[in-house]
Symmetry: C2
Subunit: 240 residues, 2 copies
Amino acid sequence: MSHNPKAVVLLSGGLDSATTLAIARNEGFECYALSFRYGQRHRLETDAAAQIARQLGAAQHRITDIDLRQFGGSALTGDIEVPKDRPAGQISRGIPITYVPARNTIFLSFALAWAEVLGSSDIFIGVNAIDYSGYPDCRPEYIEAYERMANLATRAAVEGRLHLNIHTPLIRLTKAQIIQRGLQLGVDYSLTRSCYDPDSEGRACGRCDSCRLRLKGFAEAGRNDPAPYQATAYSWRCWS
Amino acid sequence: MSHNPKAVVLLSGGLDSATTLAIARNEGFECYALSFRYGQRHRLETDAAAQIARQLGAAQHRITDIDLRQFGGSALTGDIEVPKDRPAGQISRGIPITYVPARNTIFLSFALAWAEVLGSSDIFIGVNAIDYSGYPDCRPEYIEAYERMANLATRAAVEGRLHLNIHTPLIRLTKAQIIQRGLQLGVDYSLTRSCYDPDSEGRACGRCDSCRLRLKGFAEAGRNDPAPYQATAYSWRCWS
């Protein structure tokens, strides 16, 4: 019988979190994958997360409902239009309206609760500070401050039984490097969903910031993206 | 027309958070009260919170559903028996099983999201480090670490528009001092509910740690607790 350490892995159904789960598994963790239905436009994300958790051998997968819509303030929770076709230079400049207030803080807080109950001292989150969309809660200084707070927050930490580590294995990787690492570890990227505004069948638009960063990553990695796109989607060749 | 600054106030329906709301109002804030249904045994708490929000003139009151039960690990979410009749000396020693993993971290994270959307830089939470139950997420060092993290987490903070302050007006007060302050500010304590294990009509047991701390506070303040107790409840005279 193996007694691998347990880790809670935040799993959105996107490319980054799928790769993060594969990395956590490869590091020997028994993985407890955690997803959220948070009133986003695309519930397809959580279906994708369930398939990815299965494909990558998570020990458990939980989907928690939280209502971020009632607080409003983001294109991803439905009250503002998702921007399209923004030039490359604009994507990393400033914080876009797809930013969801305090999202990673809320997600990490649920992960912290589950980790404490599991007796786990490890949380994995697929944040990335290179090819990212300028979200403040994806930066290393934010993650460090969260980890410090978390180690003052829980019974397990205060009683000295567990020192919580927040793992961010993608934080310094380019999108192309993330894709290359995931392919080495057997991630099936056809299951992953990144688009902020997919159609009703889950096909990506190819034009939102998330699609454009993803397509650029596949192009730079020299691979085709196996995920489904709408017929009108820009291909990676349109990246400028 | 007044343009008072907005504050998000965490409101549980208990004595401490009601007093905190009264203090925030007295400091001139327009108050947005936030409560949670988190699978606790006593949904009466959120009914109490709604009445308190009305009595104390909150501008809005929202009740958010979150499922902490699915993570387990606490007497307050239903999987362990609530301890009764513990000697005074034991209550402040160690962290009891009524501790809910990462509860304040989760609550503050939702408050942070709402504050950002409201354009508010102020969150009030009624934590207390004197007559408290030994919860790690009620200590000043935890709150300071949370505030530091929060100021790295949000778009509003990172863009320099808001510096978030977490107000803990009760943190250094005894329970008796909290009650005296609340009475000065017109809090109707008959509406507040503190018991971890009330009966079906919402009457307090008088025997759990929370009841005992509350009754001790009223006794030291020289007042009777106007909240309803079960016939078998210990009175404050039994405090030892």
